[in-house]
């Protein structure tokens, strides 16, 4: 399978604190790669390094075979890297469709146009409608995003990523705060999205992670202690001792 995103020996230091220490991973198309670890293990920092939100102290990031280590976050996003955040980062005052339309606009060849109504832009409206449909938000497309349920807001986060036409999705705790039904809906969506995307999933819901992930990386104190298939990770004694508590 094709490696779409690769982090090589990524390290991030803040003074004496090493938040991410020499982490390497490769995301392949059509797979879900989960990163688990306790709070403060460096998972979100790792996503920030891969997405370009934080500059690495050392190491390299390759996107679609290109070295993008010095690229800004918007450049990486336009090159096909989408990300969602732990907390909701939707635009609460806009409709669901407008949230996605604005996201899609980032890829428009003329995003600066100022003399035409943005709602008439077929390019971004088409991409927005497709993203809304794919995430099952059609019924609420015209609803103000701030009035959605928590689960729908998390779906909208992913819809906004999809509207930008990414090949790689970095999802930071997409299941956080969800009920059982919403979790099932989100897992079905992620399973469907696996086709055509490489997905990095940072998540605390272990049942969900072990159900959906093809590869799991376990982090403790900024370092990787194990990487492998769900079965291999589940039976790794070091992982059990450090994180899974003997599950």
């Amino acid at each position: 399978m094709t490696v779409l995103l690769q982090g090589h020996q990524l390290t991030r230091r803040w003074g004496g604190l090493v938040a991410v220490n020499q982490v390497s991973l490769a995301l392949e198309s059509g797979t879900v790669h989960a990163v688990i670890g306790t709070n403060g293990a460096g998972k979100s920092t790792l996503i920030n390094l891969l997405s370009g939100e934080t500059e690495p102290s050392s190491g390299q990031v390759q996107l679609l075979g290109q070295d993008v280590t010095r690229w800004s976050q918007p450049q990486r996003a336009r090159a096909g890297l989408g990300r969602s955040y732990q907390r909701n980062t939707i635009y609460p005052g806009f409709t669901v469709l407008e949230n996605c339309r604005l996201a899609a606009q980032a890829r428009h060849p003329q995003p600066w146009q100022w003399w035409r109504d943005a709602q008439r832009c077929e390019f971004s409206m088409g991409a927005a409608r497709a993203a809304v449909a794919r995430t099952g938000l059609d019924a609420v497309a015209d609803r103000q995003a701030g009035l959605l349920s928590h689960g729908q807001k998390r779906q909208l986060e992913i819809a906004m990523c999809l509207a930008t036409g990414p090949q790689v999705l970095l999802l930071d705790e997409p299941l956080a705060g969800m009920g059982a039904e919403e979790t099932e809906r989100m897992l079905a969506l992620l399973t469907e999205l696996r086709q055509g995307h490489a997905i990095l999933l940072v998540e605390h819901d272990m049942d969900a992670v072990f159900r959906i992930a093809d590869t799991i990386t376990v982090m403790v104190n900024g370092s990787v202690i194990a990487t492998g298939s769900p079965d291999a990770v589940r039976h790794n004694p070091e992982v059990q001792a450090a994180y899974l508590g003997g599950h």
């Binding site: 996003a77 336009r78 955040y85 635009y91 609460p92 995003p111 600066w112 971004s124």
Partner: protein, 337 residues
Amino acid sequence: MKHKLGFVVACFAALALYPAVAGSFGLDLVTKIMVYAIFALSLELLVGATGLVCFGQAAFFGIGAYAAVLLSPANGDAPGLWWLLPASVAAAAAYAAVMGALCLRTQGVYFIMVTLAFAQMAYYIVHDTPLGGGTDGIYLTAKPVLGPAASPWLDLDKPLAIYGFTLACLALQFGFMALLLCSRFGRALAGIKANEQRMRATGFSTYPYKLAAFVISGGMAGLGGFLFGVKDGFVNPELMSWHLSGAVLIMIILGGLGHLRGALIGAFAFALLQEFFKSEAIFGAFAKHWTLGLGLTIIASVALLPRGLVGLPGQLAARLTGQRPSSAAAANASEAP
């Protein structure tokens, strides 16, 4: 949407018809208020549309005004409006470009302070150097005209001409901003205001957008300053003072942030309140303490009208129907400018 458009059209129609019933004082006052409205709209682009609280907007206003005077021929010949107006706007926009390029590298309270610092720099340049005439200011020797100097088509020395020209500028600026805010560029600014981090993660390089908004805003404030300088035929450093930057901020807050018509309403409300509290006929000797009355009224307005005067009908409707004001506000949060 239709009632908002209807309100704006009615306002402009009333302003167009006003000279038919106004005396010279009223004409001059409303011209000044329309200049304030142009100035307030310029700041609305930064604060209401982009979420950038600029506390140095008076610098652009003052530069527009000073450019109008300084670029006019010293021999008393009437300058051509066709070149003086664009030159004054360009001078303000150029200062905004330099100021924005540096200020936009900061955020939050630092941004507010740095914009104030830049405005104070401009203030002291005209205050303390011969360039701006010091505290005395400078007089405009002849007001700009359009057409042949002997028989111009438009002579801004005439009160009705400056009134009509200011109204036309205000209407054009309003239309331009309405178009801009609904466009891709405008929606990107709205996204930056709502969540800049998400905009960057989506693929928007936000800095150029913010800088463009800063330059456009500076140019529009320069237009206001130009009209102010031409109307009064006189400029002084107070046009760049932080008091004026604060006053224009109060105008858009009073009217209702995030709404173009809020800037219009705010400018009118602020200027009329100012005139009201200054009135010796009403307040007698206490009128010299007009800032006290104005300040208390503004504090009460902000406390009682969190969405500004624009939100007053909605707030009253919510009260009458027993709906909670917060949910009414939430339901209206996405409305068009």
